[in-house]
Structures are given as structure tokens and as C-alpha cells.
């Protein structure tokens, strides 16, 4: 019973059921308790005498008396049985054994009998009639008092009653529980999307214009998401503006450097070369920062049909070409034809970054292995591209962080290998923009495997 919906539903349902039972009990308990007072016995005796005589008379004329006895019995809340002078049943024709015994006693003793056992009170009366039969005996059996509870639970209508209570209580509590928990589910789903980085979600359209606490929560949630979105985009905009503005001076710097090279003597060459390298590094960095902030600020991506199979093939071919110069290699060890809709340039960059990253880290004389396969992930068909290197891997606790911009596993090593620290972050954003997912894991036997999953 962990779900709030279930809790509310069951609580209200139980409460409604208890209320229903309580009302029923009050209703039953308010019926006055029947007791065997002397006065009631007296009335019963009188009714039996008069009714019995009338019934006996009918019987003696050969008419049927069952119906009359039954009617009378209902009036005095007793069962009435008529016997003849030799204690043989007259009406109804099959009295119970206890009534027969009383009748015999009455007939034999010629006196009225009154007997109580643990459940019933029996009264047996000797009747004399004008008719040919002469004597008759009537026996009245008064059933015991039944407690309201006993009557409530033992009655043959109990299953029906329980069913009605269950249904009505359920009908009341289900919509109520739903009404209370539905907006909370909406807000939760929205919160999950915010956590996943989608700051454009708003819950008000789903929750509706409610003026209660839940409605206010929805309103506050939307305001929070909006503010968060504004802050994040302002920050992204700042980064973008700064990088953008840096491009112009860098372009001028590069030209100025070349001019300086022409007029400077040979002594300046080493220094100028160094400056050129640093300018180049800045150029690359700014390009990547702009690329990632563009990906992050992008609302939608252009989608066209892409032949992912040949895209991966091209990337592997180029990466292998590049890797050969450093005595490493890249191979597509398994592939399958796959097409998807997306932005080819962005995906090319995403896959390229992973492969080139693997080439940077794989040991010399080893091979980076790329596999591509179509498979399922529970949500539908996906294309899985895995890139496995033979490098040092990444500490387990850093596996998720490597997709963050500028995250460095080991400061010194990364500098040496020449990464900007943005490549995998670009991959992550690009793949997510396509509704996919990126993950990294250390493979037994050494090396890192980065997996890209894209919806097919």
C-alpha cells in the first residue's frame, strides 16, 4: 500500500463501509427488545385461545386452517400448531417434535402447559369446541430474542447488504481518491521531466484551474520551472555571448600573429609557434563550447532520414585513418543496416566524438572496436552503437560525470591526450536531443565502453 492513491482509496472506502455498518446497527438496535413479559404471554394466550377455537371449528368442518394460523402467528410473533384430541397434528400437518411433545402433554394431562427451554417459550392450551371432535390442543412457540448484531449478520440478505456497502463505498471513494491524487501524479511526472533537463514543462494545463492547495502547488511548480528555465537560459546565453564575442579578437589575433611572424627575426619563431598553438587550442575550445550551448538551447532538431549504417561506417573509416598515424586502429566489428530520422551533422559529430575519444585513450597497438546493432529496450526498437577502447577505463564513480562539460578524470592525462573536455558532453546532448541515451561502463579485461542508444 505504498501509493497515495491506494491509501486514500482504501481509507475512504473503509470509512464509508464503517459508517454504513454503523447506520445499519443503529437502525436495528432501535427496534425495541422483545421480552417475555407476563403481559405479553397473557396476550399470546388470549389470541391462541380465540384463534385456536376459530381454527379448530374450521378444521372440524373439514376446512383448511393453516393459513389462518399462520396469519395469527405473525401477529403475535409466534408459531402456532393445532392438534386434535388425540394429539395428532391438524394444522400445519408437520409440526416440529417439541410442539408435538407439548401437545401430548396437554392432551394427557387435560391442563394448560407452559414451558420455557433455553431458546423458546412454549405454551400449550387445551381447547374445547362444540364440534364433533370435542377437544383440541393448540401449541404456541415463541422464538427467542435475537440481538441486532446477530440478526444483521445472520440474515439471508447479508451477502446483498455487504455487496451494496462495498459498491457504494467504492463508488464514493474511488473518484475522490482519484481527484486528490491525479494532479499529484501530473506534478510528479513534470518534476521528473525537469530533473531530466526539460525546463519547458508546465503542469497547469493538466491540473486545471483549481483554487485549492493542489492547484496552488501546480501554479508554484510552473513558476519555479519558468524561473529555472530563465536562469539556465540566461546562463547559457552568457556563455554563448562570451564565446561568440571571443571569436572576433581571436580571428584578429591569429592574423596579427602571422603578420608578426613575417616581420620578426628567426629568434621569435619558437615563441610565435607556441602562441599559435595556444590560439589554436582556444579556437577549438570556443568552437566546442558554442556547439554544446547551441545544442542545449535548441528546442527541436531537424529530422531527415539518415542511413546510420553508412554514417557509422564513414566515421570508423576516417577515425581509423587518423588512428593509424599514432599506431592504433579502429574497426567496425559488427554492424547492421539501420535508418533513423534525425540531424545527420549533429549525430555524426556525436558518434565521431566518442570514437575519437576512444582512439585517444586506447593503448598503442590496440584496436578500438565499434559495434552497431538493432535491438529493443522495452520502450521500442533502438539502435545501439557501442565503442570499446583498450585504455585505462574510468573510475566507477566518474562514469556518469564524463558526459559533463569540462569534467576531467585525471587532470594530467587528459591534457596530454589533447581533449578539450567537451566532446562527450556534446555527444550526450546530441543523443538526448534525438530521444536517445548515452552510457559508459568499464569492460572486464580493461577498457571503456561507451554505448549510444538511439530510437530506431
Amino acid at each position: 500500500m505504498r501509493s497515495l492513491f491506494v491509501r486514500i482509496f482504501v481509507t475512504i472506502w473503509l470509512a464509508a463501509a464503517v459508517v454504513a455498518v454503523a447506520f445499519a446497527w443503529i437502525q436495528i438496535a432501535s427496534i425495541p427488545r422483545r421480552v417475555f413479559t407476563e403481559r405479553r404471554t397473557q396476550i399470546l394466550t388470549e389470541v391462541m385461545k380465540l384463534g385456536g377455537e376459530s381454527a379448530a371449528e374450521r378444521a372440524s368442518r373439514g376446512r383448511e386452517a393453516d393459513a389462518e394460523l399462520e396469519r395469527l402467528g405473525r401477529v403475535v410473533e409466534s408459531n402456532l400448531y393445532l392438534f386434535d384430541g388425540r394429539a395428532r397434528p391438524v394444522a400445519p400437518s408437520d409440526p416440529p417434535a417439541d410442539a408435538r411433545a407439548i401437545a401430548r402433554e396437554v392432551v394427557e394431562s387435560g391442563r394448560d402447559v407452559r414451558r420455557d427451554d433455553e431458546t423458546n417459550r412454549h405454551i400449550g392450551l387445551l381447547l374445547r369446541t362444540e364440534g364433533p371432535e370435542g377437544r383440541y390442543a393448540i401449541v404456541g412457540r415463541r422464538p427467542p430474542h435475537v440481538s441486532p448484531w446477530e440478526r444483521f449478520f445472520s440474515a439471508d440478505t447479508l451477502p446483498l447488504r455487504v455487496l451494496v456497502i462495498v459498491l457504494v463505498a467504492g463508488l464514493v471513494s474511488f473518484p475522490l481518491a482519484r481527484y486528490l491524487t491525479k494532479p499529484i501524479q501530473h506534478i510528479r511526472a513534470a518534476a521528473q521531466r525537469v530533473a531530466a533537463g526539460d525546463l519547458s514543462v508546465r503542469v497547469q494545463p493538466q491540473v486545471g484551474r483549481r483554487h485549492d492547495e493542489v492547484g496552488m502547488l501546480a501554479q508554484d511548480f510552473d513558476r519555479m520551472a519558468e524561473r529555472l528555465g530563465a536562469l539556465v537560459s540566461a546562463q547559457g546565453q552568457l556563455l554563448r555571448d562570451v564565446s561568440h564575442e571571443l571569436r572576433s579578437p581571436l580571428a584578429r589575433l591569429s592574423v596579427g600573429l602571422e603578420l608578426a611572424r613575417k616581420s620578426a627575426g628567426p629568434d621569435a619563431k619558437a615563441g610565435l609557434d607556441r602562441m599559435e598553438r595556444e590560439v589554436e587550442r582556444l579556437n577549438t575550445l570556443i568552437g566546442e563550447v558554442l556547439a554544446i550551448s547551441r545544442l542545449e538551447s535548441r528546442e527541436t532538431i531537424e529530422r531527415e532520414e539518415i542511413d546510420l549504417g553508412s554514417l557509422v561506417e564513414e566515421i570508423v573509416r576516417d577515425a581509423d585513418f587518423e588512428a593509424q598515424s599514432s599506431n592504433r586502429s579502429v574497426a567496425l566489428v559488427k554492424t547492421s543496416p539501420a535508418r533513423m530520422r534525425g540531424d545527420e551533422e549533429i549525430l555524426r559529430r556525436a558518434i565521431e566524438n566518442v570514437v575519437r575519444n576512444a582512439v585517444r585513450f586506447t593503448e598503442e597497438k590496440t584496436r578500438v572496436e565499434v559495434t552497431m546493432a538493432k535491438t529493443e529496450n522495452g520502450k521500442g526498437p533502438i539502435i545501439r552503437i557501442a565503442v570499446r577502447d583498450r585504455g585505462p577505463g574510468v573510475p566507477e564513480d566518474a562514469l556518469e560525470n564524463i558526459f559533463e562539460p569540462f569534467y576531467r578524470v585525471g587532470t594530467a592525462r587528459d591534457r596530454k591526450t589533447g581533449g578539450t573536455g567537451v566532446g562527450l558532453a556534446i555527444t550526450d546532448r546530441a543523443v538526448r536531443a534525438h530521444g536517445g541515451h548515452v552510457a559508459a561502463k568499464n569492460v572486464s579485461g580493461g577498457g571503456l565502453e561507451v554505448t549510444l542508444e538511439l530510437p530506431a
Binding site: 584578429r252 591569429s254 613575417k262 579556437n283 568552437g287 558554442l290 553508412s310 585513418f321
Partner: protein, 231 residues
């Protein structure tokens, strides 16, 4: 021969001036324009050996300038694309630029690329004076005049497209690797992940149209390069 004239279209006046100084030192005559409209007007007037065109221009951007320029002129264009905007580089080539360089660029690289385009544009085939014609199927190319005809109809090829076609047609029936194409057509060593050749091939295919049997004239040979169909 007079020094070749280069037009630099960039809204960053300081950069344009620096480039003018640099390129003048390399033996070019440089003119600068600081907005797209002015640049387009001057480029259209003709007389330039090459146009260096920045993508990010106020009002009329570089793509628009290129598109309008290509309506009337086939002057070689080197695009300066915005680094970080990955799509730009492809778009520029698709629209008929001869080459591109992401900005900020390495100035030495820029000079090298300008020289490569220049060299190619002034090339008049191995025997300059010859009236050599190469014909494959319904296609005829004349290296001396850098013109190509398909079924007698002149094809509007840019300088880089012509060179690419020439290289492919000269080896019609055999595969030319991307490395070779890069060196012969773009005048630079092949660098992996550079797809300039592929984009130029794709543009060329569009202009050439398919063969009469509906197949491409230029076939892609996976992992190697391209091949002009011999048949």
C-alpha cells in the same frame, strides 16, 4: 600578369584590414567590404580572382550573398564559417562555395587555402594551349576553357566542381581515393572527418543528373572514394 585581386567581405573592419595587410604581403591586391550588400555589388561587378566571404554579416548574411552571387557569377568563394555552428560548413559548400574555413581560423591555413583555390582556378590543364577535349558518354569537358557540356548543353560548374569533374573523368572507370581527390581538387592533404569532397561530389551529381539508365554518374566506392562511370 597583374596581381590577382581578392575581395574580403567581413563586417569586422579591423580584421578585414589585417587580412588586407597579410594578403598584400602575399602578393594579392586586396579590397574590403564591410557589409553584405556592398560586398555583393562589388563581387558582381567582377574582376576578382577570389572572394573571402564571412558567414556572419549584419542584414544580408553570407549565405544570402553567396546565393545571389552564384546567380550570375562563378568566381571562387572561400567561406569563413562560424566555428561551433557545424551545419554552416556543409551549407556553405552546398550553396556553391569552393572551400570553407571555420572562423576563428589559422591565418597561415587561410593563405594556403586561398593559394590552392587560386592555383586551381588559373590552371589550364597540363597543356595550356591544347584544344584537348575529354568525352565520356554524353559528357564532354574542355580543360583549356574549364567548361563542361552534357549532350551539348553547357553545365554551370563552379571552379572546384570543374576540377573535381576533370579529375574523375580523366580516370573514368577507375576509383579515385578521397585522399587523392583532396590533394588534387582542394590542394591540401586529406584530413579525416573533413567532408568537403563528399559535399562537392553531391553538388556535382545534382548538376550532372543521372545517366540515361537512371544510375549516378559518379559512384561512391565505400571506404575508398569515388568513380566516374565509364559506360
Amino acid at each position: 600578369m597583374a596581381d590577382p585581386r581578392i575581395l574580403v567581405i567581413d563586417d569586422d573592419a579591423e580584421l578585414a584590414d589585417l587580412l588586407a595587410t597579410l594578403l598584400t604581403g602575399e602578393g594579392f591586391v586586396v579590397e574590403t567590404a564591410n557589409d553584405g550588400k556592398d560586398g555583393l555589388g562589388r563581387a558582381r561587378a567582377g574582376g576578382y580572382a577570389l572572394v573571402v566571404l564571412d558567414v556572419m554579416l549584419p542584414e544580408m548574411n553570407g549565405f544570402e550573398v553567396l546565393r545571389r552571387l552564384r546567380e550570375t557569377s562563378r568566381v571562387p568563394v572561400l567561406m569563413l564559417t562560424a566555428r561551433g555552428e557545424d551545419v554552416d560548413r556543409i551549407v556553405g559548400l552546398e550553396m556553391g562555395a569552393d572551400d570553407y574555413l571555420p572562423k576563428p581560423f589559422n591565418a597561415r591555413e587561410l593563405v594556403a587555402r586561398i593559394r590552392a583555390i587560386q592555383r586551381r582556378a588559373s590552371e589550364t590543364g597540363p597543356e595550356p594551349k591544347s584544344r584537348e577535349e575529354i568525352a565520356v558518354g554524353d559528357l564532354t569537358i574542355v580543360p583549356a576553357s574549364r567548361s563542361a557540356k552534357r549532350a551539348g548543353e553547357e553545365l554551370p560548374l563552379t571552379s572546384v566542381e570543374f576540377t573535381l569533374l576533370e579529375v574523375l573523368v580523366r580516370s573514368a572507370g577507375s576509383v579515385v581515393s578521397r585522399e587523392d581527390l583532396s590533394e588534387k581538387v582542394l590542394g591540401r592533404k586529406f584530413s579525416p572527418f573533413d567532408r568537403s569532397i563528399d559535399v562537392h561530389v553531391s553538388n556535382l551529381r545534382k548538376k550532372l543528373g543521372p545517366l540515361s539508365d537512371g544510375t549516378e554518374r559518379i559512384k561512391t566506392v565505400r571506404s575508398i572514394g569515388y568513380q566516374y562511370s565509364a559506360g
